[in-house]
Symmetry: C2
Subunit: 338 residues, 2 copies
C-alpha cells in the first residue's frame, strides 16, 4: 500500500519548493489554519499528493511538545443538549487550529474509568463536560499538571477552573416569575442529586420562594429523563393538592410534564404553568412551546476554550470559576404576570 | 510544572519492576484494555504517579505505526439521531481499545474542508457519518490507502465500503402500511436531495405505490428540519386536496408535521396518518407517539466497526456495502390496517 511504503520519505520543504510556496504555508495547509486562498490550498494538496508527502501531526507533536489535541470527556451523551455543546466546542477549537479527542464513558460507566487512556493520549488539556463524577480524573490531571476546565458545572473544593451557567440566579428568577403570575402551589422536578447544576437551581428557587413568604414547595428528586418527568407530573397532578406551577431542572423532563398534563386534560398555562432550564432546540417546537431559562452556551464555550488555552499557555496561573447569566425565555407553557 | 520536567524520563520497565507486574501489564493499564483487576490497575497507577511516569501513546504509535485512533467525520451534529450513533461508536471502539478523534464540519462547511487535518492526524481509519458530501475526502483517503467506511449511506460509484439501513425496502414497507390501512391520498416529505438515504426511501415508497396502482403522490423536497416539516404540512393540509397520509424521510420533520396537524385541528390518526424514519428517542414520547421505521443502529455500528477493522488489518481486500433491514414500529400516529 502506498501509505506504508512512502511514509516519511518526502519533506514539507520539497512540497514547498515544487508548489512555489513557503514551508510555513505547507504547514498551515496541513494544520487547517485559516487565511489561505482556496487556490493555494488546492495547489499544495495536489503537489503533496503527487510527491506522496505524508504530513504527520503526531511526529510534529514530539518536537513541539504539543499535540494540539484537547480531550473532551463526557457521559450522558444522549441528552439532546449535548450535540449543541459538542458541535460548538469542536467548531471553536477547530477555528483555533485544535482538534477534539472525544473520550466518552459508557452508559453505566464512571468517567473516571477513562483516566488511564486520557493520560496515555497526551492531550494538551481536558474539558470535562460530564454532569457528575470525574473527581479522580480531575485530581490526577492536576497532579500531572494537565490543564482542566469543567464545563457546565463546578467543584469549589477541587481548585479546578470551571465555567457554569449562573444556575442559582436562574432558579431565583423562575421563583419570581411564578409568584408574579399569581401561582402559590409550587413544585420542583429535579435532576441528579450530586450535580452542582441541579442543587443550585433548586436552592435558588426554594430560597427565593421563602424570601417571598412561600415556604411550601413539593420536590421530586432524581428526575432527568422524559419518562421520569412524565411520571413525576402524574404523581403531582393526580394528588389531592396538585401544584399549579412546576419548575423542571431541565427541559427534557419538562416535555414529559407537559405531555402528562395533556394526557390528563390539565390545561397549560391556564391550570398549570411549566418552566424548564437549558433551552434546547425542541423547547421552541409548537407542540411544547416551553418557557425556559436559556443557558448562554456560546458564551460558556467561548469562556471555557479561553480558560483552557490560557492554562495551557501559562501553567500555574491559578484557577477561575466563571458564572454566566442565563435568560428566561417566555413561551406559551407559563402564565405571564397578572 | 512536573509535566514538563519529568516527561519521558521514567520507563514502563521501571514502573513494572516497582509495581511487581510485567511490562505488558503496565502497557495494558495505559491502553485501557480489559482483563485486569481493579487492584492491579490501582497499584500500577499509584506507582506510575510516584515515579512520575508518562505513558505516551503517541510515541508508541511511531514504533507500532498504529495510532489506534479512528477518525469520525460528521456534519449536522445537531440532529438528535447523532448522539446515539456517536455514543455507540465511541463505546464500541473503546471496548476494542481504540479511540475516536472527532472531526466535525461547521454548520455551513463541507466535510471536505477537513481533509488536510484528517490526513495530518494519521488516523488508522475513517468513518464518514456525514449525510452528504465528503466525496473528495473519500477519494483522497483511498489514494492514501487509508481505510474508510461510510456510515448510514453509501456511494456505489466510489468503491468505498459502507453500512446503511435498507432504506429502499423501508420505503416500500411504509407504502404497504398506508395502502393496507385504506389511505389513497399520499404525500412524501423528504430530506436532502443528494443523500442516498432520502433518495432510496422516496424511491421505495413511490415505486411500491405505483406497483399497487397509486401513481399520485405529492412530494415536498429538501425538508429535514422540524420547521421545514411544520411548514410543508401546513402547505399540504391547507391545499384543496389535502393528503390523508404523510411519509417523512426522517423523524424530526415528522414531529413538525404532527404539530402542524394539531395546530390546524386535523385529527391524528383519524384524519391523517404520519410515519417517520429513524426511531429517535423522542418518537416514543406521548406527545408524538410516532409510527416510524427503526434503523438498526447497534447492528449498523457493529458492522461498520467490524468492516473498518477488517480493512485496517487486511488492506486491499475489496469493498463491501452492507444493507441492514429496518423495522416498522407501530405507535399512535398512523392508522392500522382496516
Amino acid at each position: 500500500m502506498p501509505r506504508t511504503s512512502s511514509r516519511s520519505r518526502v519533506t514539507s520543504h520539497e512540497v514547498a519548493l515544487k508548489a512555489g510556496v513557503s514551508q510555513s504555508t505547507v504547514s498551515r495547509v496541513f494544520s487547517g489554519r485559516a487565511g489561505l486562498s482556496q487556490a493555494t490550498r488546492e495547489r499544495v494538496l495536489a503537489v503533496a499528493r503527487d510527491l506522496g508527502y505524508k504530513p504527520n501531526a503526531i511526529a510534529r507533536s514530539l518536537s513541539t511538545r504539543r499535540t494540539r489535541i484537547v480531550g473532551l470527556v463526557s457521559s450522558h451523551m444522549t441528552n439532546p443538549y449535548f450535540p449543541t455543546v459538542l458541535q460548538a466546542f469542536t467548531q471553536r477549537l477547530h477555528e483555533l487550529g485544535w482538534k477534539v479527542l472525544l473520550l466518552s464513558a459508557g452508559k453505566s460507566e464512571d468517567v473516571d474509568e477513562l483516566l488511564p487512556e486520557v493520560l496515555a493520549y497526551q492531550v494538551d488539556g481536558l474539558v470535562i463536560a460530564s454532569g457528575s463524577h470525574g473527581r479522580r480524573m480531575t485530581q490526577e490531571a492536576q497532579r500531572q499538571g494537565l490543564p482542566v476546565v469543567l464545563f457546565g458545572r463546578y467543584a469549589l473544593d477541587s481548585g479546578v477552573s470551571a465555567v457554569s451557567c449562573a444556575n442559582y440566579e436562574g432558579g431565583r428568577e423562575v421563583a419570581d416569575a411564578f409568584l408574579d403570575a399569581g401561582h402559590r402551589r409550587l413544585a420542583y422536578v429535579g435532576g441528579l442529586e450530586d450535580t452542582s447544576t441541579n442543587l443550585d437551581r433548586r436552592r435558588g428557587f426554594i430560597e427565593r420562594l421563602a424570601e417571598r413568604g412561600v415556604s411550601d414547595c413539593r420536590v421530586e428528586r432524581g428526575i432527568f429523563t422524559y419518562q421520569g418527568g412524565y411520571e413525576a407530573a402524574r404523581r403531582l397532578l393526580e394528588s389531592p393538592q396538585p401544584p399549579d406551577a412546576i419548575f423542571c431542572a431541565n427541559d427534557i423532563p419538562a416535555f414529559g410534564v407537559l405531555d402528562a398534563a395533556r394526557d390528563l386534560g390539565v390545561k397549560v398555562p391556564e391550570e398549570l404553568s411549566v418552566i424548564g432550564f437549558d433551552d434546547i432546540p425542541m423547547a421552541q417546537w409548537s407542540g411544547y412551546s416551553l418557557t425556559t431559562v436559556r443557558q448562554p452556551v456560546e458564551a460558556m464555550i467561548e469562556a471555557s476554550v479561553g480558560l483552557l488555552l490560557e492554562h495551557i499557555e501559562t501553567p500555574g496561573a491559578g484557577s477561575v470559576v466563571r458564572f454566566l447569566p442565563g435568560t428566561l425565555v417566555w413561551r406559551r407553557s407559563a402564565r405571564l404576570r397578572r
